[in-house]
């Protein structure tokens, strides 16, 4: 009668998933590699580290913006900061029942529009995070603190994104937006369509 364990299930993380995560980190590393190379080149003629950083960080920001405008340019880089939208889309796809609503309906188009707005919000947050990251790097320079590993840079980037994303999340506008995101999806389905 004794029931020692709740359940035993296969490992929830696939190799494919792990590789996908790795590609995102590598994409970040490639951008940081370019940044460090440019900084190194600029520093030959410019001694003020703040100026060097400012001149070159803009190129990193441009790469991020480019990945936002056209995710096909560098999908791995885009995926780093669009993941909440990706998770939303995966969730919508996984909803059981009648499957995805017809993409030609007005309701679906309206939901697509809300998703586009979502991407815009994420883009703003990601941009603000890069500004914050640049500021943090400058502050470190004034205190002589050196970042000497890619992981440390990545962690800084994560911290900055969490901070600016969190600020966005806590806004009244985002609360209203969250309602629009859910409600616009729900309007794509006839009432009771997915009731199992």
């Amino acid at each position: 009668m004794a029931d020692k364990t709740d359940t035993a299930t296969p490992n929830p993380i696939s190799a494919e998933f792990l590789l996908e995560q790795m590609r995102g980190y590598v994409a970040f590393g490639e951008q940081m590699s370019k940044l460090s190379e440019q900084i190194h080149d600029t520093a030959q003629n410019e001694t003020d580290w703040g100026t060097v950083l400012r001149q070159n960080f803009d190129r990193f920001k441009a790469a991020i913006v480019e990945s936002a405008d056209n995710p096909n340019v560098n999908p791995e880089l885009a995926q780093l900061w669009t993941q909440t939208l990706d998770i939303w889309q995966q969730t919508v796809t996984s909803l059981k029942g009648v499957g995805l609503p017809g993409e030609e309906t007005d309701a679906w188009l309206a939901h697509r529009e809300v998703q586009t707005q979502y991407l815009g919000l994420l883009r703003q947050s990601a941009g603000a995070a890069l500004d914050l990251m640049e500021q943090r790097l400058s502050e470190r320079a004034t205190t002589g603190k050196v970042i000497d590993s890619l992981r440390e840079l990545y962690n800084l980037w994560v911290d900055c994104n969490e901070q600016t994303y969190g600020r966005m999340l806590r806004s009244i506008e985002y609360s209203e937006f969250s309602g629009r995101l859910f409600n616009s999806l729900l309007r794509c389905y006839p009432k009771g369509a997915i009731v199992p």
Partner: protein, 351 residues
């Protein structure tokens, strides 16, 4: 200042890729991920609910049993995740006779279940089962998170049946300024949601939780995974937690409708306006001793949301236990194992 060169970054990325590649082998051979460390016996069943009794770990456990009511969201094995991370084991070791309700996985047949079913019927029947079995008028009740809110309702409606009430990371005031879940759901058309889906899909809840901290929860956590890929035991622990996070039962539609609207959107619990069936919940009717356990860094149930019980509850014997940690850490961190179950047990044994 960035002290990195492209060569250094390339070297770091090569090392990262190598560790991932080697770690794949560990991942492939990791086997099944089990949860639940402590032996237990099913003692009562009703619909999908199973009431378990955990096998005591002392010769003579405390004469008043403790019923744990977990949230409807996620699965209750978080309370007994593995041998060295088990709130339940800590309670058993301290001499408590522990029972736990497993709600199971609601399906289409459960979409009309109401909060009345969960509180009057399911919790009520489990409490009555224990009262009969132990020949006691009242037993101890411990509610976790949303299960704490359900336990508050039960204790308010049936104060004579609850000897002592423990609430853990339980929301009471849903409209404190830092309550992000309320913030996300405030403008959602809950009626449309339930009318469309019947039961609320667990995946939508997962999205809501991940969206609170996506860069850490859906990115950094997996980048950091590389550090433990060569350690099978650490990896197994990580995967066990992953399994729990994504093991999200659907929510019975009508119960979710009322919980989302009355608790989250309209904050009726602290206003004394929640109706469970025909009966109104008044927190001032909670007159038995109460221990309110909260986590100081809880991003899902902020401390202020829990501590509101001090103001709105009716107990003259009210205590708080503050744990320095988060919503999950309070169950699974090493410090939690040392601090929380022993404190709860001591509080119960003194009453």
């Amino acid at each position: 200042m960035i002290g990195l060169t492209p060569e250094r970054i390339a070297e770091e990325l090569r090392g990262y890729s190598t560790r991932i590649t080697e770690g794949m082998e560990t991942l492939r051979n990791i086997g099944e991920i089990g949860t639940g460390a402590s032996p237990r016996d099913p003692v009562y069943q009703e619909d999908k609910l199973v009431l378990y009794r955990y096998q005591p770990r002392v010769a003579e456990p405390h004469s008043i049993p403790l019923l744990i009511v977990y949230a409807l969201v996620n699965r209750p094995y978080m309370m007994d995740l593995q041998e060295d991370r088990s709130m339940i084991r800590g309670l058993l070791d301290a001499g408590i006779d522990v029972y736990l309700i497993d709600w199971g996985y609601p399906d289409a047949g459960d979409r009309t279940l109401t909060l009345g079913d969960y509180i009057h019927r399911y919790i009520g029947h489990c409490i009555d089962y224990l009262r009969d079995r132990y020949r006691q008028d009242s037993v101890n009740l411990l509610g976790v998170c949303q299960g704490g809110a359900l336990s508050l309702c039960f204790a308010s409606l049936y104060p004579d049946k609850v000897r002592n009430l423990v609430t853990m990371v339980t929301p009471v005031d849903f409209h404190t300024p830092d309550n992000l879940l309320t913030h996300l759901i405030r403008h959602v058309n809950v009626d449309l949601l339930v009318d469309t889906f019947g039961n609320l899909p667990g995946g939508l809840l997962n999205f809501a939780f991940l969206s609170l901290s996506p860069f850490r929860l859906a990115g950094q956590k997996y980048v950091d995974l590389v550090d433990i890929l060569d350690d099978a035991e650490a990896l197994r622990n990580f995967l066990r937690m992953e399994k729990w996070i994504f093991d999200s039962p659907d929510q019975a539609g009508e119960a979710f409708r009322q919980f989302a609207k009355d608790f989250f959107q309209q904050n009726k619990l602290v206003k004394g306006e929640v109706m469970i069936g025909e009966r109104r919940v008044d927190l001032r009717d909670i007159v038995m001793p109460v221990l309110n356990v909260y986590a100081t860094q809880d991003h899902l149930v902020p401390p202020a949301a829990s501590k509101a019980l001090a103001v709105h509850g009716g107990s003259q014997d009210y205590s708080e236990l503050s744990f320095r940690g988060g919503h999950i850490g309070i169950y699974v961190s090493s410090r939690a194992q040392r601090e929380v179950p022993s404190a709860i047990a001591a509080w119960l044994l003194a009453r």
